[in-house]
Chain length 354, copies 2
Amino acid sequence: MGESGDAWHTAGAAGHQDGGVVTMDDVAKAAGVSKITVSNVVNGRNRVGEPTRLRVLQAIDELGYEVNLAARYLRVGRTGAIGLLVPELERPYFSQLARRLADRVERHGMHLAVERTGAVRERQLSSVAKERVQLYDGVVLSVTGLTPDDLRRIELGRPALLIGERDVPGTFDHVVMDNVGGAELATGHLLATGSRVVAMVGGSLDHAEHDMVSLRTQGWIRAHESVGLVADLTLVVTPEELDMGAARDVVHRLLSERPDVDGIVAITDVVAFGVLRALADLGRSVPDDVQVVGFDNVDEGEYSVPRLSSIEPDNDAMADAIVDLLLRRIGATEPPEPQVVMPTPRLVLRESTR
Amino acid sequence: MGESGDAWHTAGAAGHQDGGVVTMDDVAKAAGVSKITVSNVVNGRNRVGEPTRLRVLQAIDELGYEVNLAARYLRVGRTGAIGLLVPELERPYFSQLARRLADRVERHGMHLAVERTGAVRERQLSSVAKERVQLYDGVVLSVTGLTPDDLRRIELGRPALLIGERDVPGTFDHVVMDNVGGAELATGHLLATGSRVVAMVGGSLDHAEHDMVSLRTQGWIRAHESVGLVADLTLVVTPEELDMGAARDVVHRLLSERPDVDGIVAITDVVAFGVLRALADLGRSVPDDVQVVGFDNVDEGEYSVPRLSSIEPDNDAMADAIVDLLLRRIGATEPPEPQVVMPTPRLVLRESTR
DNA sequence: GTGAAAGCGCTAACAC
DNA sequence: GTGTTAGCGCTTTCAC
């Protein structure tokens, strides 16, 4: 048959004859049936006689045939894949979310692919992301860092679900953390266990934006209010990036200006790890000199030194809701009513708090 | 026009008329040209007059047209996507590899999607993985944990490149770490700086398998040999899993049996973090009582307490090689000669060693 | 139980 | 510069 083909690509791994892009027609010819019968066999539709089935199966095996997904997709409109679009691949929160989603999606016979949107905004989301998203039956989109205005522009052209922020046009399914409530819970615990000067590392006072950072900062403020204190806004410090390095640096600065800080709420667990690192640098003992609490309850918190107390947003419940809502939307013929799910967070106490 | 379509999926985000799966034909009709002219405009082929181009562009905009990638792919055979298949999404090594690859791949105008193969073996790799891989122009496959025999079975039907193990059929492009050399370097440093009883946490003595674990264990043995010592094989301890929790547990056990251990080589950085956690539990000071060195030089090593010394396999050079080799193979019309790349590792000293 | 015809949306050739 | 023809590989009627 053909002379070139796919087989060589992997440099002749298995023992196929010659590869050569085997089509259903080839199989049909070899088995002495028609294309459609091959299709029926491949897709397990039972309207085909056992002897024919066997002959077809054998031909498939001999020729090393494999369905062409692009063709099938063009015809059927389904790829069986769900896309998860996140701003960064290596943030533990996202990779652990990916793991949870992959588990659940596979349970439904589909699979998950993870892509990075980068420090994407507006234009990029509406054009770049839009194109690549086509090869998924549905998309989970993390919109951390996008303004409500950006969000209004998003139009992916297929079933989609948002995670990450709270205030959203109201036209998307949306699974969110209780950012305010969680931060309030965390801060409240520090205040209740003797901390008097509780800083918010990674927070922001830009109340206009209803993004994760501002919301968690509000929770920190509210916790003060609800015990009759007024939060000292100079204790909100904002690192360049929400990573460990920047967090560590900003804490060095904070503690040189405000050595009286005896509690730190970190905007995320990753930031909290940077905080712990800085406190170790400075010889402050945790939790005796300074209590620290994070947010997200990432796996690594179990093993940091000291172990990190954190807010668990109920990540499993969120993952459940995400795939349920998305699959519902994928399966629907009519656009279902957009829904918002916000599980109740709880505080996980480990060694970094009293 | 149509009444249903894509638009509703995202619940009417943007302001398209009605959606309705707009095709090139629709655009062509609206602009008063032919399908192919629309195609030419969309793909930026300049053989189209400026006024026509403008009319087409406007029609595209008005109708909210978007190319159908499945159709294009069926025709052209390229999706512009590279797949990265890893056993686990949340291992820092993999997510950081993903970041490096995504950077480079995007520089070439393509994009990267990451999928999980799970604790996949044989059958799964040759069937499951094979299907889903079709929508990528090329695939980077991490084969950690597969036997050489499994590897021989892999036939993905498209340009592929292996990472992770050393001994491989020799028919794939292959980018590997110098596992033996790296572990030898790490162990050598501990021995040279006064450690006398150096355990290998996460190692394995199953020399039959030439997987990462065995290779790094060999490096540990060799380092002893090259300074005239003979490695005490009872110091090789194997946790259930290569994660922090199991590593921590196994170190607890190790140190209760062998309190004289004064150096630990961890098979990976993640294992090393578990080791550090255990040593903190046991009140051993690092590096004074016990030196610790990891492998992979994952970002988190900068921020652990204490900061982790580690083997840097030259991850950037590996990422460069991976995309260069893969793109070469994708672009080629003839199967290029399979190539093996193994950068030289170096030791990064931080606080966990003397 | 099996097959023939049609077409999903796109682009490579080759006209004009 | 622009259009026509053909076909990528598959599945969905509907007939036999």
